[in-house]
């Protein structure tokens, strides 16, 4: 017999043990989506696109600015000491992924703004010659290529950070995987690709993005498998944490909403779409986007539920 009685360590009587609510999963999801969109826009931008050619890469920086601002809003809502948020930018703490994230966001915003500016058709900027001149310089093939590279690097940094933020917190065994950063990056890329082929007007571009998303969904499945195998073959604490998704309280929501509806079903639909056996449908990309959100909610929530089982 082992009976444990404590006035703490019970989320029902001590809500502090469930430290993050809806705000953090939403922020991580939107951050991942923006990261994926930046990588896709950067990749397409490096191939030489000009405003007005209908490329989805001209829309993504604008969309990313909105999504990132919404995500930052959610992050701000989560802070308990909101008036002190500026303290984050008076220091850089190299051991803190959250500090890295704060400064990565400082890099991401100007990159997005430059990308957005480069995507504006020149005739719309004729009233502001200085801005038009800057936009013209950004559209120069060399500058566009460099901006695309910076966009990809910043996107990778942002996407990986959203996962490392969790995996660096060793007190939560479910997050103790180096593959969590790549998983959130690939999930963000998949979400970005899904939305991009949802709104793409060029059939060739749409087909390329759809095929890319299928590959990303398969990689995402593989990374989920690796994380679970890694936890199951590690210590008893980590195997116990993996059990939350394999028979424990988060099993149904994880396998139904993340894996089933978020990856396998859209992968099947998009495979049929890629081979032209069914027409392009908005259902598949919407499922991918919903799956990305569900992944963040399940991982953040189950991770906080996981703990060191030794006394």
């Amino acid at each position: 017999m082992l009976e444990f009685v404590t006035t703490r360590h019970n989320p029902m009587v001590d809500p502090a043990l469930h430290v993050w609510g809806w705000e953090i999963p939403v922020y991580l999801f939107l951050g991942g989506w923006v990261a994926g969109s930046m990588i896709i826009a950067g990749w397409l931008g490096r191939q030489g696109r000009s405003p007005g050619d209908g490329c989805v890469c001209h829309v993504l920086p604008w969309l990313s600015l909105v999504l990132l601002s919404l995500g930052m809003g959610a992050l701000f809502l989560d802070l308990e000491h909101k008036l002190y948020v500026w303290r984050m930018y008076l220091t850089f703490q190299p051991t803190s992924p959250m500090s890295w994230g704060g400064w990565i966001l400082v890099l991401v915003y100007p990159v997005l703004l430059l990308g957005a500016l480069a995507s504006v058709p020149p005739d719309l900027l004729s009233r502001w010659p200085v801005v038009a001149g800057l936009a013209a310089r950004l559209r120069n093939p060399g500058a566009a290529g460099r901006l695309g590279t910076v966009s990809i690097v910043a996107g990778v940094g942002l996407g990986v950070y959203t996962g490392v933020l969790l995996s660096s917190l060793g007190a939560r065994p479910l997050w103790a995987s180096a593959a969590l950063g790549p998983l959130f990056l690939v999930s963000g890329l998949s979400t970005g690709a899904a939305f991009a082929h949802l709104i793409a007007r060029n059939p060739d571009e749409q087909a390329s993005l759809l095929r890319a998303d299928n590959v990303l969904l398969m990689v995402e499945l593989g990374l989920i498998g690796l994380i679970l195998i890694g936890l199951l073959t590690a210590s008893a604490v980590h195997a116990h944490a993996a059990g939350l998704l394999l028979g424990g309280p988060y099993t149904a929501v994880f396998w139904v909403f993340v894996v089933g509806l978020g990856i396998l079903l859209p992968l099947t639909l998009q495979t049929l779409m890629a081979s032209h056996r069914i027409p392009h449908t908005v259902v598949a990309p919407l499922l991918v986007i919903g799956g990305g959100l569900a992944l963040r909610f399940v991982i953040v929530s189950a991770g906080q539920y996981s703990h060191w089982i030794s006394p």
């Binding site: 017999m1 082992l2 984050m88 803190s96 917190l169 007190a171």
Partner: protein, 179 residues
């Protein structure tokens, strides 16, 4: 520099919660929160049962994850005694430290900053004991410099079987429990 720590004798502790009340009184801990608490662990099978009572709090770890994850440096290791503290004016309330602590020792103060046991640093710097240690009616709690081999805490650790909480978490806690 001293490395302050605590030794708690589980054979003497009766779980009276005087330490909890003393802490709340001394530090004005808000309602619904606590900086220290009591846990009871009952093991074995009838009639061979073993009850271990532990008075728990922040372990002021030598390898504190709450300090390494803090984005503003609000969570820090204080010069005096290597005590882990939170600078309220620097804390943004991001709760990364709450998520990083395997002991669940931190909570968000109603004023918005992360809060936890300070080893009553305001008393210790003036030569007093932490409030919880000072009031313990069974003298189960001891406090002192773990780096001084002649200190009471070092001698107790050297002479008695002891354990720390969640040693596998790798945080190197500085609260020792005598068996």
């Amino acid at each position: 520099m001293a490395r302050l720590g605590m030794v708690i004798d589980t054979r003497r502790c009766v779980g009276c919660m005087d330490c909890v009340v003393a802490c709340k009184t001394e530090n004005g801990v808000p309602d619904g929160h606590c900086r220290d608490w009591i846990s009871q662990r009952l093991e074995g099978a009838m009639p061979h049962l073993r009850l271990t009572i532990t008075s728990e709090r922040c372990n002021h770890c030598d390898n504190p994850p709450c300090v390494t994850c803090c984005p503003t440096g609000a969570s820090h290791v204080h010069d005096y005694g290597n005590v882990v503290l939170v600078e309220h004016e620097k804390c943004i309330g991001c709760k990364a430290c709450l998520a990083s602590c395997p002991y669940g020792a931190r909570f968000v103060h109603p004023d918005g900053y992360a809060d936890k046991c300070t080893f009553c640093i305001h008393r210790v710097e003036n030569g007093e004991l932490p409030a919880c240690v000072a009031v313990c009616p069974t003298h189960a709690m001891h406090f002192g410099d773990l780096d001084d081999p002649q200190s009471e805490v070092s001698r107790l650790i050297a002479s008695r079987r002891h354990f720390v909480l969640k040693p596998d978490a790798g945080t190197k806690p500085r609260i020792y429990y005598l068996e």
